[in-house]
Structures are given as C-alpha cells and as structure tokens.
Amino acid sequence: MIADLWQAVASGVMAGSTYALMALGLVLVYKTSEVVNFAQGEIALAATFVAYLGLEHHGVPWWAALPGALAFAALLGAAVEFGVLRRAKDPSVLGTIIITIGLEMVFLGLVSWKFGADPKTLPFPLPPYDGVSLAGAYVSSLELLTAAAAVGLMLALYLVLAHSRLGLAIRATQQNRDAARLMGVRTRRVLMATWALASAVGALGGLLIAPVTMHPYMMWDPLLKGFAAAVLGGLTSLPGAVAGAYLLGVTENLFGAFVSLEFKSVVAFAAIVAVLCVRPSGLFARHHVKKV
C-alpha cells in the first residue's frame, strides 16, 4: 500500500514535469502578450519532427540536432509573433485564441502531410525505457531528465525575469506597454523574444516525449494538461504553473492508482473546474483587477 502510494506520487511528479514544460511556455507568452498560445504544442511538434528529419534521415549527430530543433522552435515562435500576431489589428482575446488555434491546425496539417501518419520514435541518446528505482518507485531516466529540465528552467526563467535587464523589460512590457515604450523599452522586440523563448521551452517538452512516442497528435494531451496546470497556477505565475503541473500529475496518478484508472485523465479537467469555482484567478496568482 505504501509502496503503491510512493510509486503513484513518483509517477505523478514525472508526468507533471512534462506538463510543467508546456505550462511554462504558455505562461511566458500569456504574461507578456496576454495571448493563450494554443499553437505552442504544434510549434514543438514541428521542431521535434525537424530533429527527427536530421537524426533519422541526414545523419546529424544528436548534439547538433537537438539544439538545432530548439533554435528552429525559437525562430518559428518569433516568426509567428512577427508575421501573424503583430499584424492582427486590435485583436480581442477571442480573436487571438482563434488565430493561435488556426496556426495550430496549419502546423499540424503540414507535419502530417510531410511525415505521414505512421507512429515513430525519435532516436535519442538516452534509451526510452531504462530507469532507476527511487526507494522502490520506478522512474525512467528520460523522466528524470524531464523533471530536471522543468525545475531548472523554472528557476532560470524566474531569475532572468527578476534580475536581468531583459527580465525587467519583459515585466515592464507586461505591466504597461505604452509606458514601457515611452521609457525606451523596445516592446515589440521584447514580445518577439518572449515568443521565441516560450516556443523553445515547449519544444524541449516535445523532444523529451518523442523518444517514447512520436506522431502528429503527440502534443495534444501534454498541451491540454499544461494548459490545465497553467490555469491552476493562475496563468501569470511561473512557479505557480510548475506547482500546478506537479499537483495535477500527482492527483491524476493517485486517482488512477486508488480510485479508477479508467477516469484518470478526466481528473485534470475536474480539478480546473473545481479550482476556478473557488479561486477564479488560480491558486498562485494575485487576483487580477482590471483598472478602468
């Protein structure tokens, strides 16, 4: 019983790490541009398939292909911001959601068309299923890497935002775009940089899923769960998003282990509804009051 509990918690933390990477990307973009980027999953998908193309078909070594894929994601993210969202004239929240969902479909279609529907797996320096026992609970080395990446990135992003000039510019842009611009912050560049950074974070999530399973729809579930985690955490708080992701992963796995495996994946969405009823701005964000 205790062993089961421990394994469920460990599995939950590991599953939560993937959600956390997606949630971090979503929060970064939302914080600066107030856009929920539903295309993030498919930007990651495209980057992952670019890595696959290099590794599987062109003999590119992994130490070049994987960073290359992250760079590709960053470029694609920047291009989306520069080429599409910046061009949208005074879009409403609904408008930007429609735009990112539309882009999501375009990228998904392109990947399906170019690479076909057969499932694949990404060649990766770590074998997908080897793992270690943590006090009796099994976790794979790939999952440990994902967890390290999620926590490490969260800390790094937090430090960048809090202490660097770029971070200051990002925060200024987020708080009042006009005032920031008047103070000499190049807000457009800041937005573009955030999109690039967020897309690369999401792509890292994709690259860490792909050694186990890789097909055009692989990012749907992680993105939805990442979105759920971000909403739980309040959509504007990086530590909140990561905490939300771990909470979600652990709750899900405890539910799966002790209540019903059948309804495990529904838990995430039940949790969102519950949290939003009690705390509409999420567990970790300060309540947002719109100034008139």
């Binding site: 797996t121 399973t213 729809y217 992680p222 495996l261």
Partner: protein
C-alpha cells in the same frame, strides 16, 4: 392538340420515366460500377488510412486489366478522420448524390462503421468487408452486410489457445483499450480461458489519451501474469512492453492483428517488440505467392511515392477481393440482388487474407455473414521479420 391527345402523351411520358430507372441499378451504368469507401487519411487513426488506399490500387489494377464485364470501377473514397459524424455525412452525400453508390467496400473502424450501418441497411446497399473485427457486424447478421475481418474474439481465443496449450501458460492477463475493440479482446480471451478452467488474472483498461503506462504495468505486475495480451493501439502496446521491461515485468507478450505490422512495431519499439506473438489475418508482407507478387508489382506501379508496403495497405486490397469476386460472378447483368446471391456462394475463397466463406442468409446464424474465421500466429524476430508459429487456425 386535343385534351385527349395531351392526356395520352402524359401517360406515355410517365411510363417512359418510370421504366427508365427500373432497368438500371443505382450506382451502375453501362460503363461504370460506383464503389464507395471511407477511411481516416487524417487524425489520430490515420495510420489505418492505408486500407482505403490499398483498395484503390487494387481497383486501378482491375480497371487497367479491362474492368469487370466491360465496366470500370469508379472508386469514391473519402477521408472521415475516424469521426463517425463525418462518416455518416460523407456516406449520405455520396449515396444520395448524382450517380449514387452501388456498394460500399471495407471502411476502417468500428465506430465509423456503426454510424452508417443502419442507414445502409435501410437503403439495402451492400457493404462488403468492414475493416474491423467487431462483433457488431454479425450480431445480428444482416442480409446486405458481409463481414470479413476475423472477429477480435477469434484472435483472442487463438492466442490464448496457443499460450495455454502449446506455451503452458497458466496466468494470462490482458491490457485493453477501453472501447469496443478492447472489450471484444477481453470477452474472447475470457471465453477461451474458461474452456481450460482458467480466468484472466488481471484486466487493465487503457484510455486512448494515456501516455504514462506505469500505473497499468503496476496493476499487471501485481497479478503476476506469465502471459499478457495487448488489446491496445500500437503506440500503447510498445509503451507497455517497454515500461514492463524497465519495471521488471517480463511475461510472454501477445497482441492482436492491429499490432501485427512487425516491421513498424519493431522499429518504433527500438527492438523491444522482439519475441512478441501476434495474430495475423493476412499473408506476411514478404510472402511470395503469385497473388502477393502481383499485388506488390501493382503497388510499385500505382501507389504514391512515399507509400509503405505495410500490412494494412495490402489488407486493404484483400478486403476488396470478395466484392470484386462477387461482381465478376454476378456477370454483365449486374444488380445488388445478384451480387448478394453470388457472395453467398463463396466457399473457401482465397485471396491475400485467409479463406472466405458465406452462407445463404440466416438471421439466426452469425456465421452466414462472417466471411473469414481463421488467423495464424507469428513471433517477431530480432530484425522485425516474422517467425511463423502456426498454420491458419479456425476458431469456432
């Protein structure tokens, strides 16, 4: 023109109009037979989309050889994305559109097929060879619906019989996709185990969206199985074998024809699929029977450049064979009634699937409409090739 004359003209015209369609069957002209199929070309089920493309290549081959009794097959295929609502809309559109459809062939998936079964029955349109081993096609059997794919229950029974009988396994468990397909596997395995005085030691449901399979492996492990059936998608099957290996669960794995594309399974599992036993309902991809050679040549000639000679591609050709045979036997004077009558006469018809037989329609006998009842078992070798474990096995 007098009123009486006009009246005669009207009667004559009406007679002509009425006589016209009575002579010709819907979907058949002097030069064409219109055949329809749906299949997922996009969406999560798209790997099975090869079925509809395979059928297309077979029809192209037949047309280039001169067609059937002077008529070419006009193949109308559409992408339903494995979405039953789209299947239904697409089938209605083609069926009721100009020209109509004479008969439907194959069509991937239990849920999409169920969405149009009643519609096709009401319009009395023949439907031959659904690409799914669901029991729904024959329970109850229908006059114009000719099931082909061996029932998943047969596959489960054949695997259990081999595992228990030849392999001496006593503790058989199953991981199943929580839908009709998965539940058919559970039912078939449980029934066959009962005949040996055994029970499934664990039944573990997997949801389509599950990507972390540790909880499932844990549940399996607790039951200490010596054999585990995998009635899931190819991706889940690989995940279970891989996670199982890492967590110290190493039973004899066995899986369904859905995971029988060993080349693909071996590749995406990075070799872990080696040793897994699977059920097969078609010849093996490298079989060198004259028919398989002919189909491979047609594949080289007609298929798209990046198409793969996978099991589900040539199975798509196989699912269309009984319909083609029925059309040939029905002759130049083609009607739906004639097609159904000829299909009922098929006995041990052999294409690239197993033997196919139908019986005159009997509403109480599912076997009168279940064409193929045999499967054979293979084991995956180190290079993704198949080692044949049994000959074709018929499960009653």
């Amino acid at each position: 023109m007098s009123m009486a004359m006009a009246r005669w003209w009207a009667v004559g015209l009406a007679a002509l109009v009425l006589a016209g369609p009575a002579g010709a069957e819907e979907g058949v002209t002097d030069t064409e037979i219109r055949i329809g199929q749906w299949g997922p070309q996009t969406g999560p089920a798209a790997p099975w989309g090869a079925v509809a493309r395979g059928a297309g290549v077979l029809f192209q081959l037949i047309n280039d050889e001169g067609g059937i009794h002077g008529r070419k097959i006009r193949y109308q295929m559409f992408d339903d994305g494995y979405n039953p609502a789209k299947t239904k809309a697409g089938v209605k559109e083609l069926q009721e559109g100009p020209g109509g459809i004479f008969a439907w062939v194959s069509g991937v998936g239990t849920a999409p097929g169920l969405a149009v079964r009643d519609y096709l029955r009401e319009r009395k349109v023949p439907w031959v060879g659904p690409a799914s081993g669901s029991h729904h096609w024959v329970s109850p059997p229908e006059k114009n619906l000719f099931a082909l794919y061996p029932l998943y229950r047969y596959e489960a029974a054949a695997l259990v019989r081999y595992l228990v009988g030849t392999g001496g396994k006593k503790r058989v468990a199953i991981a199943y996709l929580n839908d009709d397909y998965g539940k058919d596997g559970v039912a078939g395995a449980a029934a066959e185990l009962a005949r040996h005085g055994l029970k499934l030691v664990a039944e573990v449901p997997v949801e389509k969206g599950d990507s972390d399979l540790k909880p499932h492996v844990l549940q399996l492990k607790k039951a200490e199985p010596d054999a585990v059936l995998l009635w899931v998608t190819p991706t889940h099957a690989v995940g279970l074998v891989g996670t199982g290996k890492a967590m110290g669960l190493a039973p004899q794995w066995a899986s369904t024809s859905s995971c029988s594309d060993l080349v693909l399974m071996h590749k995406i599992s990075k070799g872990l699929w080696e040793g897994v036993i699977v059920a097969n309902f078609t010849e093996l991809p490298d079989a060198d029977t004259p028919l398989m050679k002919k189909y491979r040549a047609a594949f080289e000639k007609y298929a798209a450049k990046d198409e793969r000679w996978g099991v589900f591609f040539y199975a798509g050709m196989g699912f269309a064979e009984p319909l083609v045979e029925g059309l040939r036997r029905a002759g130049r004077n083609l009607t739906r009634q004639a097609l159904v009558a000829e299909l009922e006469k098929l006995r041990d018809f052999k294409g690239v699937l197993g033997r196919v037989s139908y019986q005159p329609f009997d509403p109480t006998d599912p076997l009168s409409r279940q064409g193929q009842r045999e499967v054979f078992l293979t084991r995956c070798l180190a290079d993704g090739k198949a080692e044949r474990l049994t000959d074709w096995l018929t499960v009653e």
